[in-house]
């Protein structure tokens, strides 16, 4: 037997088949563990679409083809075996088409909103430049996969903007945002104050930072509103604490307005002083005052995802570090223009507008649990279409499925999410599946004849 024959016999052998089957099982099992620990996308990228998986599937195709060639010319009793094996190859071919030419994204809109962009899971980094707020030009737009090719300080991902560069130095796939307030020297930053409102039951401590050009900044804490004013703010309504800085001193001037008694108490305080407000035993404490304050964003890397983690990257521009989270915009200033960076999910234009007219949800009786939900969508040239679970819209080769919903604020109106799908491999997958099932049935029916033939073939 020639070397070629030997290799061919090995490739056509059932040993390889069992090896492939077991490997597929093991890789898939690892994938499910990854998915449980991390998330579906992580498992897909690291396992299901990994080079190992493609390698094993490639070997499977070779094995299936080789074994069929080996049995040539086929007899009647081969029909089940041939059908099943061709079915698997066609299914895998369908999967390849889906992977490379398919679209699997989502489109979301509020009621009354129009959208024509499908959001994909892949990421994209784009840079625009603008002169004095007018005319925005796109400088570059690139697909990035920092998860697979993470940037580092040593080998950053470099973006060129005219003659300047931005260097992406860090990428956290599961980042958690935290902020801290620091003293600043820059003239764009305004004063900041940290205070505490406390009694036996509640405890708020907050920062209020007022922009350098703003006249006041405020926060509503339930029992009262706290206003950080430049001195021009006038009491409006309800319980209010108005805080003002005094020129050239660290003292804070306060006035406490109580709505129920229409009374005002005024005074000055330093950091650390406690002031009785007279509301449910609440004490106001001035904790810290900064003449110029800035909120500094930082990210921490998490090992595993949870609901508050999201992708974030750190970049350097003109010696300064900036953080960007996924789907955010960053402005970088140059002497005469501004660069606008966007880091977000890749979006594609589907070529027509979809408008969400209505969103309805039925709940199980006496509960807040959703039973069904549906969207009424305006489709150009078609009119109004009702999309609900298991009743998708098929339009221009794409399919739109009702996949979920969300609320921008608690008890607010619902927004609808449709998953959008274009799958050129669909027909192949269905056809392959059909062959596989038919083949398996025939295979077991004719198994005796096939078995004897195999026994001879394998010696």
């Amino acid at each position: 037997m020639s070397v070629f024959d030997k290799v061919f016999q090995l490739l056509a052998s059932i040993k390889i088949a069992v090896f492939v089957i077991v490997s597929l099982g093991v890789i898939s099992a690892v994938g499910t563990i990854y998915e449980a620990r991390y998330d579906a996308r992580y498992a897909q990228q690291m396992v299901y679409h990994s080079i190992y998986m493609w390698g094993v599937l490639g070997l499977l195709c070779i094995n299936l083809t080789a074994v069929m060639v080996d049995r040539w010319p086929w007899k009647k009793h081969h029909s089940g075996f041939v059908l099943a094996h061709i079915g698997i190859i066609i299914m895998l071919l369908g999967a390849v088409f889906t992977k490379f030419y398919g679209v699997d994204g989502s489109i979301s809109f509020d009621i009354g909103q129009t959208n024509r962009y499908v959001t994909l899971p892949e990421h994209e980094l784009a840079v625009y430049s603008s002169f004095a707020g007018s005319r925005v030009t796109e400088l570059s737009k690139q697909d990035v996969d920092f998860f697979k090719n993470p940037p580092s300080k040593e080998s950053p991902y470099v973006i060129h903007m005219d003659n300047k560069t931005v260097q992406v130095k860090k990428y956290y796939h599961y980042g958690v945002r935290s902020t801290s307030v620091v003293a600043s020297e820059e003239s764009v930053d305004g004063p900041g104050i940290r205070f505490q409102l406390q009694n036996d039951n509640v405890n708020f401590s907050e920062w209020l930072i007022r922009g350098a050009t703003k006249s006041f900044e405020s926060i509503n804490l339930g029992p009262a509103r706290v206003v950080w004013s430049d001195g021009t703010y006038k009491y409006q309504s309800g319980n209010e604490v108005i805080l003002e800085a005094t020129p050239n001193s660290k003292d804070i001037r306060y006035s406490i307005h109580t709505a129920s008694k229409s009374s005002v108490s005024k005074g000055t305080a330093k950091a650390g002083d406690a002031i009785e407000t007279g509301w449910m035993g609440l004490t106001l404490r001035i904790l810290r005052f900064l003449p110029r304050a800035r909120e500094k964003v930082n990210y921490k890397r998490e090992q595993y995802p949870n609901k508050v983690t999201h992708p974030a990257l750190q970049l350097e521009y003109e010696g300064q570090d900036y953080w960007m989270s996924l789907n955010s915009v960053l402005r970088l200033y140059d002497s005469d223009k501004v660069y606008i960076l966007t880091f977000g999910n890749k979006r594609i234009d589907i070529g027509f507008d979809l408008k969400l007219l209505r969103f309805n949800m039925d709940k199980y009786q006496g509960t807040n649990r959703a039973a069904t939900y549906e969207s009424d969508v305006m489709v150009p040239g078609v009119g109004e279409v009702n999309i609900f679970m298991n009743n998708p819209l098929k339009y221009r080769g794409m399919t739109f499925y009702q996949s979920s919903y969300y609320q921008n604020e608690p008890n607010g109106p619902y927004s609808s999410v449709l998953s959008v799908n274009y799958d050129p491999g669909r027909g192949l997958k269905y056809f392959g599946s059909l062959l596989l099932v038919l083949g398996s049935i025939v295979l077991f029916y004719f198994k005796r004849g096939f078995y004897f033939k195999r026994k001879k073939a394998d010696g």
């Binding site: 099982g25 449980a36 939900y373 996949s403 049935i441």
Partner: protein, 552 residues
Amino acid sequence: MIRCMYSKLWSVHIATVFLLVFSTGALAAELTDGLKRLPVQDLGRLKPFDTFARESLHLVYGKKKYNGRSAVDVVLTWMLIPDYWDEQKVVEIRHSGLREALKLPEKELFYSPKELFFNERMSLLFQQLKSQQQSQNKLNPYYQAVQRLQNQMAVFHMIKTGNGVRVAPHPEKDTWLSVADLDGELATAFSEITRAVAQGVKSDGAVDMALRDKVTEAVKNFQEVARKNAPGKYADMSRIRLELHYNEFHPLMWSWILYLMAAVLMISHIISDRKTLYQASWVFLISGFLLHTYGMGVRSILTGRPPVSNMYETVVWVPWGTVLFAAILERLHKWKVLIPAASVVAVLCLILTDIAPSVLDPSMQPLEPVLRSTFWLTTHVLIITISYAAFFLAFALGDLLMVYFLIDEKKYAKQIQNGVRSIYRCIQIGVVLLAAGIILGGVWADYSWGRFWGWDPKETWALIALLGYVAVLHGRLVGWIRPFGMAAWSIVSFSLVIMAWYGVNFVLGAGLHSYGFGAGGVEYVSAFVAIHLLFVVYTAVVRQSRLKEQDQ
């Protein structure tokens, strides 16, 4: 205000009466029969008071009865004499870490609502739970126990105050009126029920038929008033009655008793070779199967969906398939051991559904929107789970063959040959069904989510199980796997099915298919799998050494 005083009046009146009786003897069970079919709105559906009481008692107390008193009696009196129940040890805390955290006596399992309510550490625990929930982390068993305790306290409190017992439709809203909300004529009619119950109690022990009828009358009268109050919105009584019948008749219990008889008779037949035993075994098997079918059928009518939408239902459905396959194969191949093998599987599964309600929740909960789908969902789940039934039969046969191998391989050569043939048949049936089911699952996913295959853990594990069995079939094809291997692999491969069926929801706990499943029993299932794997290894070692001896 008037309503308030009125309800106070009846509750005081009744409370004194009840306290007398509860301290002396049990409330006669039949007295409250009429109350069982009172429709209650709870957790998104209408159910008879009987079901409501059973589920509530089970949630709070973890058992079906309290000191021999029926759930209906207990839950009704929570509402009527709350002060008495506040003192009773009726709240179950299973998690020892939680008992420790609450500084409760270590040895006890049950505590009174009062001692828990006044436990200083309770609010702290609930706060910690809240922050755990807010951080969106998966709850560990300790926090699950805290969550359960919170739930138990809430349910007890809601029933005690009457706020959680929704008995009459609201004229405008979807949410029904609770006992505490009742007003005017409704309140009067409801107090008639409790008054009748209270009077019945006085007769101490024996049930006065007249009083029992009085309770039933009062319930009927209340239903009439409720119906009039919100025309067209009252419950469909035929469904309520059907559910009550299902609760009381308990067809699945009778089914496993009959299967057990069938198994015993068939084994006796195999030993004694008496023909009547064989026929009798079939009669019991078929009756058991019919009751099994009836039970699943009634449940399907009640839930309005095929009986495969949660763990409990599949554990009932799979042995049905196992018995069916065994019966067909027995008729074809005349291999009698199939009957006891399948019966044992069925008895095991059905007993499990009876004794482990905290793991296999029998309550008929409404479905998540995505699962309220139609044809393809049903078909793919039915087919995949029925393939598990075939693998389960192969597994049981494998176990049996292991015993034959251990005792005497030569003497039982015929049985082993038949057994291996049946295992092979079962695996073939399973593989075709599982492949078809996975593909139909793909069709359904494509239909509802637009993805033929999304690497969801449940579907992936079904695929892994399929690959496992396909590997076994291919191994057999080239003679790597011989009769002993076939029996051994039918047991080993079934671990993959257990992972796909149970493990994905309870061990991995991730993915689209993890809707509405509880948690628990992992240690028992792992032990089950481990014992079987050890059994296979042990048999293989014993057999190898025996074969070596023979060679020498």
